[in-house]
């Protein structure tokens, strides 16, 4: 075994897009592999949990964990990697804020199991079997399955996290900068999100077209609007663009594809709740001071959780919908 620093990569509740983003580094990935040994990466290479357990505590220079925490297995491995690693990086929106899987905090385990295992139209489950944590097969094999939690958690609610690499998925530049900082020993103080602390609007290519005072009379959804490519500020057209409440550094990939920002880079420092910050922005641009007219404008926006908390529900102040 070489004496190169060792790193681990693990996925929890995620789509695999973050792993894809690492592979998308192309040649840069070869530089990374030349500098470090990847000793754990279940998606791409064959390792067992035992291999990690057999490492000394703190033997890994860094672990990159993507995905939210939904299962007891994910919690277990996250805690194991925390013990074995000097640095833990929350990689991607799901690990940082809960991400799109985090929208499941609008429901709970019972509702998920009922829908998925009992009611789904394509199911063939006459005995209404739902996953159990323990089951005896053929009277002699005692099988254990991970527990499915009632809520989805961001990584830092489970283990201490040293750095955050934001994005859904993180842009190649964000990842490259992070790897460079690690390898050159130029990491900022712990707890930092490795992306600029300015709003996405600051670097938005459509910034110049934003009027001094944005005022809207109704909310519009992108599919209802046929001038997405006119190069003008989306907010002015009443389209919810999370730019004002979102950290920049993403390379404005969505804007350049003529779509509004969804907020995947999360809020900037000092903002606790990205959705509520955006709610303030949206409320202030409604062009009316009268209660009835405000209600009319808001009637064009039937769902608030979707646009405001697409990535951040589990890291929001309220965390979970109340279910009696």
């Amino acid at each position: 075994m070489s004496d190169k620093p060792k790193i681990g990569i693990y996925w929890c509740s995620s789509c695999g897009g973050c792993e894809e983003a690492i592979v998308d580094l192309n040649e840069t990935l070869l530089d990374v592999v030349a500098a470090v040994d990847i000793v754990f990466w279940p998606v791409a290479m064959d390792f067992k949990y035992e291999d990690v357990e057999n490492l000394e505590d703190g033997e890994l220079l860094a672990s990159f964990i993507n995905g939210a925490i939904r299962l007891s297995e994910q919690e277990e491995i996250a805690k194991l990697l925390r013990r074995k690693s000097q640095l833990v990086f929350a990689f991607g929106s799901c690990a940082i804020m809960g991400g799109i899987p985090g929208l499941a905090n609008m429901t709970n385990r019972e509702e998920v199991f009922t829908r998925v295992y009992k009611e789904m139209e394509s199911n063939d489950n006459p005995e209404n079997t739902v996953p159990q944590t323990e089951i005896l097969v053929d009277g002699k094999y005692n099988l254990k399955l991970p527990e499915f939690f009632n809520s989805v958690y961001p990584l830092d609610q489970i283990i201490p996290v040293d750095y955050y690499i934001p994005g859904c998925a993180p842009s190649p530049d964000t990842i490259k900068d992070a790897f460079t900082a690690i390898l050159e020993g130029k990491l900022p103080e712990k707890g930092t999100v490795l992306s600029p602390n300015k709003s996405m609007c600051d670097t938005c290519p459509r910034k110049e077209t934003k009027p001094d005072k944005v005022e809207i009379e109704k909310f519009t959804r992108p599919h209802q609007y046929d001038k997405l490519d006119d190069g003008k500020c989306f907010l002015e057209a009443g389209i919810i663009c999370m730019g004002p409440a979102t950290r920049g550094g993403c390379g404005e990939r969505c804007i350049n594809a003529n779509m509004p920002c969804r907020g995947c880079y999360g809020p900037s420092n000092n903002v606790k709740d990205q959705g509520l910050r955006m709610l303030s922005v949206l409320a202030s641009i409604i062009k009316s001071d009268k209660e009835e007219e405000i209600a009319e404008v808001l009637a064009t926006l039937p769902d608030l959780i979707g646009p405001l908390y697409m990535y951040g529900l589990p890291s929001s102040i309220l965390f979970h919908k109340r279910i009696e």
């Binding site: 509520l276 709610l279 202030s284 001071d289 209660e291 808001l298 102040i317 309220l318 919908k321």
Partner: protein, 148 residues
């Protein structure tokens, strides 16, 4: 004290220029009103970030009130209009989190309306007593979801 022994915890954000003076007037008029409301003075009702309101609910408040100057009377000209718009938007959001909309209340109380101040406090207390405790800490601690 109600029959169930439930005393609501209510947080009220009151603006420095109108409603807080209204509270003062209620005091000098020796008006009696519920002790369950904790007043927090802010310079303007427009300073009440939605985060404050949600933090109050998360921290154990059963109800949250925002009191400001009457429309047109804002010391900062349009602060209370922003409050009205945010409040109108917060209500459906609370709905989606399954928090009764009545747990959040906005009203205008001027510097001379001591009686109105005492009245809205009591009315809020009655509404929240009816609704019962919110107990958001139980919502946060949902890890063990019980048997399915």
């Amino acid at each position: 004290m109600t029959e169930t022994g439930f005393e609501p915890k209510i947080v009220a954000f009151v603006c420095n220029w109108c409603s807080y003076v209204g509270a003062d007037i209620a005091g000098s008029m020796k008006l009696k009103y519920t002790p369950n409301v904790n007043l927090i003075r802010v310079m303007c009702s427009g300073r009440v970030d939605p985060e404050f309101i949600m933090e109050a609910f998360r921290g154990g408040a059963d109800g949250v009130m925002v009191l400001g100057c009457h429309p047109g009377d804002c010391h900062y000209i349009e602060g209370n209009y922003n409050t009205l718009k945010r409040y109108s938007m917060l209500k459906p959001l609370l709905d989606q989190f399954n928090i009764e909309q009545d747990r959040l209340y906005l009203d205008w109380v001027s510097a001379s309306e001591g009686e109105k101040f005492a009245r809205v406090m009591d009315e809020m207390n009655d509404r929240i007593t009816q609704l019962g405790p919110l107990n958001w800490d139980k919502v946060i601690d949902t890890r063990q979801g019980g048997e399915v």
